[in-house]
Symmetry: D2
Subunit: 351 residues, 4 copies
């Protein structure tokens, strides 16, 4: 209810602050008896980890996950799984000088207004560091989905004004932008470096594709598969929009164009993005999210302090000049969490 | 859990099928002691009602709401409010001829795959007729929000390829497209009529603005105000995307452009759309949703029947050639439901 | 959240007031494709209906249930089922004279304190008339449970100070007390009539037995099967306690007495009442609830009015001098709702 | 949904196994800005801690709580609070010899049937060690309730067949039984020692009293204050029944006896136990729970092994011969959690 829990049956609750002792997650509702591949969980965390390349923040966090419950002899027991990541490179002192200033684009002002108190150490609870816990939980969901034949893959399709011209899934992990087009990726990286060098940042778009989902997942009227995915995505820091299939382009299409004709061999097109009436069609699920440019920039910005007085601020510290590369695994994780939950909901319906 | 309930504290549960006896909603968690303006509720329903103009379906539904519980001497008692709209112009027989065909763009196929059984009478539960119940509940939420000084207004900004060039809130209810620009509205209407005449339909974009929300609404990490709005919007039939503030345009912006500078007088810009870190900033909340072109079109389309055999279909019946005008009150209703719920959540946090 | 919803997956929401237009329930999460026996639903309602015998209230309510959604050609579709019972013999005027008085033992005072407004017409929302909606929903759950081989039976074991000396399930529906011992039932009936004649009422105890539940139902740590049954039971008006298996007698037992020894043929005893660690053992589930004596009595009682002034009151109207006979089907209904929900939860866990 | 979460707004999720690395809890929905008294939290844990006296298990657990999130400079921030207790004296090896046997009275059999896999190390998740996490969370709730003027106190009223003859709240913490009557406590202790010496255990009854709750807390129809307390209590391991106010004695009372007359000075009696219609009356809330005799006993018992073969078992290890003393703080904790949640729910209703 207070917002740190996600999912109905396969359900996670995250906790922790960016510069507190730890971040982590409790997962409840995990299928019992499943052997978890802990190395695979760690690999997902490594993909989100800071300091992977010059394009990401230089904060040094090993993000080594510890699992304190819910496993017995390597298998899930059905009991809640606690996963914890101790913060090793927290530097709260770095924020001391701006503890009375609101960083533009950040939740500093809104958190203070909401709570009347604010953990100013690097955003506290509002920091995207919380997404490490999501990735850990999502890595568990991915393993359960893999057993169902479902795969989730996301990648950068646009960043710094550069668009991918092809979708080559094989190159995603081979370029620091996690883009699906190596040539575009190189150009994106140049733009990101450029932005960083002038104390600025860039935005982008991430696309996500899910394969192997059978028709029939999703609940009407409100807990539609796309509605739950939308909530999951918009809940990721810096995501400001989402579109499914043809998305916003549908505004200018006619029904005869947008409708996906059906044949005995399946849908002829996939303008729906794999979801009709909120329920999966069996076609690939496709959606895109927009990632705003990183709010933490070194360039000087106008702001106010907690007393309402005008001020200027330069957000120093260790920040990503483009959030896309590290947001890719978060998008995948949240997608996996939604899907695993809906598989269980569908099973419950028919039980 | 099965998807027909929305909200945490101010919570609605809808029921009913398009060509069954009735649609309706139970609202729980309503502030007690509030005098409800029943005429105002009916007015909202009238805005969503079919048959308002030549641009909407000609189904004749008075949509006269009956309230069967939760009111005493005109005031809310805090008990659940049941609102019911009996279907007066249901014509299930009209669907008899296509009961074995899947209408492209509709949930016919996905519902059958999900449930193994399908109420083929005009989409049954999947029909947008369910949104009448949302509008009824939303009308209650709006009255509660009005007491808090909050107003919600939505309007068509694009349809049939025509974009509004100005935002004039005064003209919205004075044109059948519910557009914010009279000149554009006239052009949109021409395109809609044109599409209809060739058995086709058009899509569009609706924008929504919320005024009077104080800073501090929304719950991290998952139940962010924007995340909950996104879920609410994508749960509306035909909505395929949502963006907040600068939205997808943020992909090509730099941080120094996108960040909204703060001054003692407030935010200088509103690229964030009134929400930072998932919590309201106090600025106007602004978002846009894309409405796909109506799936029900008279033009011939390829499809399959329930036995998997190829077929063609022309969706006759009474349909809107553009969904925007009638979707506007639904967007407003869902927005109001999310906000009223979050006001109560914020109060609970500090209680 | 506001309390009128029960269940996680198989979930009901009730609405309606005792002397308003109707009471009813929405059920969500019903297995699709199941043919419902509507006559059997009505039979359950008839068992709870007022006016069955001289031992129950003489209010005349046919309690004919109408189903307005979620069924198609006699089968469940998986969409929410709305069941409604219009109040036919509401007499709000009968309460006019006591609308400023708090009836002892009733929720008059607490509702006014809670809500600041009170529907004084026969208790309004607080009336046990709301339980008709539970029985209707429970009757659906019972049909689903029957397909799983599960049966739920409750009966009066004590009333007016008279205890049953045997458990004969065959006689329950053959005596107006719904007791499991005809001889005791006759004596109970005499005590009830006696109490009524002097303007008073009596309490009692209902026992419930569930057969056919496999081992493994229930969720640790909080949503234990017994914990959920306890909540369900205590949520029934007039129920003031519950005990499982040996119950309160366990206070004076030793571990060697209370522990149910296991053999290859099963448990030797059933002091646990069929639940260990919150999870069903496969043995019969047995529990008892205490029903307080009816609060509405004709004898004069001391009370206060809404202004805090002392007063006396005689609760006239049509009331049951002993609630047990009509509470029996309510106990069964709530039990069935809990079990059907937990079957689905167990399926979801392993999905 | 999977059962390890409790509460609607003030909500806890527990995790951990008896002989795994740790047990703990995440609390979400905590009022921000409150200075927490960490020593007071530890004191509550010390009351539940093993090894307090010869009457309790000799397992040595310091139960020193660590708080890893949700606090900033000693105050709550409104973010989730993670409290963790590392298991220091886990001895999983002690259970190796009985890992294929089902201990009578324990959840060994039911967990295996439920999950298909079992953490046999001292009951794993089913162990009452999980209640340490509840006490930690309850201690936070108590501090919030104290600010509201609410106090919760529980005590043993019966054990080993000995009943307290007076209620002296001052002596509770001065005797190892946590009884409300020193003389009875001494006799209880003798009976407990006696039972232990013959390899057996005893049951008992705990009473709980809550003072300072204003009228109006609780939600009809299902989330009644007593219904939620009942669920909370029955969710505590070994609790097999609960009764409010007059409780089961109401079965033999008449309405004129049981109804609590009202006067301008308040209720004359409190047979209702402070709750009417599921909502607090403002009188003291009073209920009793029965605690079954400890299932772990040294005396030989008949059982079966995981292959269904007959066997005998003596549960060695370190166990409490009577659970009452250590269950008292658990009863208080769960009561506090329910109340704090309902205070927030009431605030949300009127917001």
């Amino acid at each position: 209810m207070a917002g740190s829990t996600f999912g109905e049956i396969f359900r996670i609750s995250t906790f922790g602050e960016s510069h507190g002792p730890a971040v982590g997650v409790v997962i409840d509702g995990v299928t019992p008896g499943v052997e978890l591949d802990l190395a695979a969980i760690q690999r997902e965390l490594d993909r989100r980890r800071p300091g992977q390349s010059s394009l990401t923040t230089q904060r040094k966090e090993p993000d080594a996950v510890e699992i304190l419950s819910g496993l017995f002899e390597g298998r899930t027991t059905g009991a809640p799984i606690l996963m914890i990541l101790y913060n090793k490179d927290a530097r709260p002192g770095a924020y001391e000088s701006i503890k009375e200033l609101f960083r533009p684009g950040h939740a500093d002002y809104t958190y203070l207004k909401k709570y009347g108190i604010r953990d100013w150490r690097g955003g506290g609870r509002a920091s995207a560091r919380e997404t490490a816990a999501r990735v850990a939980a999502g890595a568990v969901a991915r393993q359960l989905l893999a057993r169902r034949g479902v795969s989730v893959i996301a990648y950068t399709v646009r960043a710094g004004g550069v668009a991918c011209r092809q979708i080559d899934l094989d190159v995603i992990e081979r370029n620091p932008m996690r883009a699906c087009d190596l040539e575009a990726a190189a150009e994106m990286a140049r733009r990101v470096e450029e932005a960083r060098s002038r104390g600025d940042s860039v935005g982008g778009i991430i696309e996500c594709r899910v394969r192997g989902v059978p028709p029939g997942l999703g609940e009407p009227a409100f807990d539609r598969l796309d509605a739950d995915l939308a909530k999951a995505m918009i809940s990721i820091p810096a995501v400001k929009g989402i579109e499914f299939g043809a998305g916003f382009a549908a505004a200018d299409m006619s029904g005869s164009q947008h409708n996906d004709a059906m044949t005995p061999e399946g849908f002829v097109t996939n303008h729906a993005g794999g979801i009709l009436g909120g329920i999966s069609t069996g076609a690939e699920i496709v959606f895109r999210v927009v990632i705003k440019p990183t709010s933490s920039i070194a360039a000087e910005q106008r702001t106010v302090d907690v007393h309402g007085r005008p001020a200027t601020i330069r957000t120093k510290g260790r920040h990503d000049p483009c959030l896309c590369p590290r947001a890719v695994p978060v998008v995948e994780a949240m997608t996996a969490l939604v899907l695993e939950d809906h598989f269980k909901r569908q099973a419950a319906l028919h039980a």
